[in-house]
Amino acid sequence: MEQLIRKLAKKQYNLNIFSIAKEFPSINLFRNTIDFSRIQMDYLMYLYFYDSLKSDIHLDKVTERVLNSEIYEDAYYMYKNENKKQPKSENKKHDVFLVFDNSRKK
């Protein structure tokens, strides 16, 4: 079932509807607007997932190869989210420390 939901969410037509629905609240994806079922929630999650992947492809952050397998898709998404979690300022501090450290050795 999950694979079918993924396939449906990956279709460009459905992604277009999702993008439009994000902009226009009067467009609903389902007949119900509250009390979403499990498959509806999974479908929404995968629409968001593929929307984000295709946007990264469009921005040249990753190539179309990512769409060749579901394992690639999941792995890239996980990597992307993990990178988001790491604060950038900490890396900068670390870099400065390394430069200072190297100069002391000399």
Partner: protein, 216 residues
């Protein structure tokens, strides 16, 4: 000639597969539109639907009642007691299985991150394929251990409660069409539990789980 025939038959198989997938996707599109899943079984139309607020309350109350009833029965063990007993009798150490699952989960995540990085840095296909195959292998190992663990704990109190909730949920969700009116398919839980039509029960249970989130 034979090769050509073979190709034709492969093409036909591919086409049939594509048609079947398209059919399943269009069915799924219908199921997604509202919170109802319709199906035909032995020429009768059935559906499962989301529970109403009062049905959810009913289910919640019965879950607590069943939980208390199971707790009073000293022959039914909680998962933690089951684990202890299995360990004492030298049958299996479930905690060790959990540790192994945890170790494999860390490895699975780590390999996924490596594959994700390889994809974002545009590494060669060989590297990507190698990570993909490692991830598949790790996942298979995790699934095998989880199945093994579940089989040992299937008679635990928690699992019995989960089965009861699932059964009651299906009974509440299942309706059939009588003269264009939707009515509950079984009058009582007892009638549903005694139903001999395993196919109908399994189908209804499967669709119910597609719709509802539930836990114990």
């Amino acid at each position: 000639m034979e090769l050509k025939e073979g190709l034709k038959s492969n093409e036909a198989q591919e086409l049939a597969k594509k048609f079947e997938e398209d059919y399943k996707l269009s069915q799924l599109t219908e199921q997604l539109k509202d919170n109802k899943i319709e199906f035909i079984h032995q020429e009768k139309t059935y559906r499962v639907r989301l529970l109403t607020s009062s049905e959810k309350e009913e289910l919640h109350f019965l879950r607590i009642k069943k939980y208390t009833q199971l707790l009073k029965d000293k022959d039914i063990l909680l998962e933690k007691d089951f684990k202890q007993l299995l360990k004492e009798r030298n049958i299996i150490d479930i905690d060790k299985l959990d540790e192994e699952i945890e170790r494999l989960n860390v490895l699975w995540k780590d390999t996924n991150l490596k594959l994700g990085e390889a994809l974002s840095k545009n590494y060669t296909d060989d590297i990507l394929k190698s990570y993909e195959s490692q991830i598949k292998q790790i996942k298979e190992q995790i699934d095998t251990i989880i199945i093994q663990k579940s089989s040992f704990l299937e008679d635990s109190l928690e699992n019995q409660l989960l089965n009861y909730v699932s059964q009651y949920l299906t009974y509440l969700s299942l309706e059939c069409k009588n003269n264009d009116v939707w009515v509950r398919a079984f009058d009582t839980l007892e009638n549903f539990a005694n139903c001999n039509d395993e196919q109908l029960v399994n189908k209804a249970a499967k669709y119910t789980l597609y719709l509802q989130y539930f836990g114990i």
